[in-house]
Subunit: 194 residues, 2 copies
DNA sequence: CATCGTTGTGCAACTAGTTGCACAACGCCT
DNA sequence: AGGCGTTGTGCAACTAGTTGCACAACGATG
C-alpha cells in the first residue's frame, strides 16, 4: 500500500502530470518503488477522488490533454501519518536464490550465463547510482548540509549498498557454479593434490 | 511466475503435503520466495492439473485428509527449463527508502522508532541464518563438499549478506535521522566550533 | 458420547501489479 | 489538406498475492 504515498512524495517535491511522474519514477523514487504509467494514472485518479490531490486549475480538462496535479493538505497529512506509522517489511521474493536451489537438484545448466548477465545489470545500475551521487552530492559523503539533502543522500546510498550486495553475492554464486561445472568432468570435490 | 518452481524444488528435495510445504517455506525456501498456505494449495492444484506433480497413491482422497505430492518427469523438465531460462530481476519495491524521502518533505516524526524496529527485525533474522549455517555447514565456509551442499551454502550466504546490508544501511539511516532531530532544537548543520 | 481445540485442506472475494491496446492532441512534412 | 510519428492519457482484461472464512478429521477431556 505504498504507491499512493510514493506519488504524494513525488508530487510534493514537484507538482507534475502523469507522464512527468512516470519519468521521474524511472529515475529516482522508482529505483525503490517501481511503477508503470498505468499504475500511476490509476492511482492519480484515486488520489483525486479521495481529495488528496487536485489537478492544477491551469490544466486542460479534455482527454489527451496534460494535467498536472498538486498535493492538498489532506494528502500531506495522509503522507505524514504513513511515514510515522508502523509497517512491516514486505516478504522477500527473489527468483535467483530459488533458481540456485533448483539447480542443486536439476543441474546448473545455463545458470552461469544468467548469473553473469545479472551481475552485469547490477554493475550498470551501481554505476548509475554513483553518477547520480557525483552529480547531486559532489562534496562527498560527509556533512551534506540540510535535513532534506542528508535524507536523500541516505536513500541513494542505500541503492549503492544494495547493488554492492548483489554484485558481491552474484560473484560468489558464479564462482561456486563454475567450480561445480569444472568438477563435473574432473573430480567431484577434490581438485588437486593436498 | 516462480512460485510453482519454488514448490517443485521443495517437492524434489522431499515429497510433502500442503502443510508440510507451508512449514518448510516458513523456514527455508520461503526466506527468498515467501508464500502463504493458500497460494501453495492453489498452486499444488494447478501443478497437479498440469501433470507436473501427482498425489502419492497412499494419500487419502477425502477433503481434510492429508495428501502428499511428488514431482513427475514433466515437472522436473519444467523446472530445469526455468532454471536455465533468461529471467529479468523483478522490480524492487521497498517502502523504507520511500518513507525516508517522504520524511524529507513532511518531517521525520516517528521514523527513528520504525528504523530501530526494522533494525531489530533484521538482526534477529541474521541470527537465525547464522544458526542455520552453524547447524548445516559446521565446517565453516570453505570446501563444503558436493555440488548440492555448495549451492545451498551460497544461497544461505546470500541471506546473511542481505541482512548484513540491511543492518548497515538502517544504522546509517538511523544515525542521519537522529542527527537531524538533534539539530532541530540545536543548530541546523553546524554542530560545534571550527 | 458430546463438544472442543488443533491440524490440515480449501473456496471466495479482494487488492496490487502487469500487459495490451485505444485514442486524443500536436507538430511536422510534403 | 491529408497523412505520419510522437507524446500523453486512459480503459479493460489478466495474473499474482492476500485475507477471511468454511469445514473435515482427529484426538483429548469432562
Amino acid at each position: 500500500m505504498s504507491l499512493p504515498h510514493a506519488i504524494l512524495t513525488a508530487l510534493l517535491e514537484k507538482p507534475s502530470s502523469g507522464l512527468e511522474l512516470t519519468r521521474r519514477f524511472d529515475k529516482s523514487i522508482g529505483f525503490f518503488w517501481s511503477a508503470t504509467h498505468q499504475q500511476i494514472y490509476r492511482e492519480l485518479g484515486r488520489l483525486e477522488r479521495a481529495g488528496h490531490i487536485r489537478a492544477l486549475p491551469s490544466a486542460a480538462p479534455t482527454r489527451g490533454g496534460r494535467k498536472a496535479y498538486e498535493v492538498l493538505p489532506a494528502g500531506r497529512a495522509e503522507l505524514a501519518a504513513w511515514t510515522a506509522a508502523r509497517d512491516e517489511p514486505r516478504p522477500l521474493r527473489d527468483a535467483l536464490p530459488v533458481r540456485l536451489r533448483a539447480a542443486a537438484v536439476v543441474g546448473t545448466e545455463g545458470l552461469a550465463e544468467e548469473l553473469t548477465r545479472h551481475l552485469e545489470l547490477h554493475r550498470r545500475r551501481l554505476a548509475d547510482y554513483r553518477a547520480i551521487a557525483a552529480r547531486d552530492f559532489p562534496e562527498g559523503p560527509d556533512v551534506p548540509g540540510d535535513a532534506r539533502t542528508r535524507l536523500h543522500h541516505v536513500v541513494l546510498d542505500g541503492g549503492v549498498r544494495m547493488e554492492t550486495f548483489w554484485i558481491e553475492w552474484l560473484s560468489e554464486a558464479l564462482e561456486a557454479v563454475r567450480l561445480i561445472e569444472a568438477g563435473d568432468q574432473d573430480s567431484p570435490a577434490d581438485p588437486g593434490p593436498v
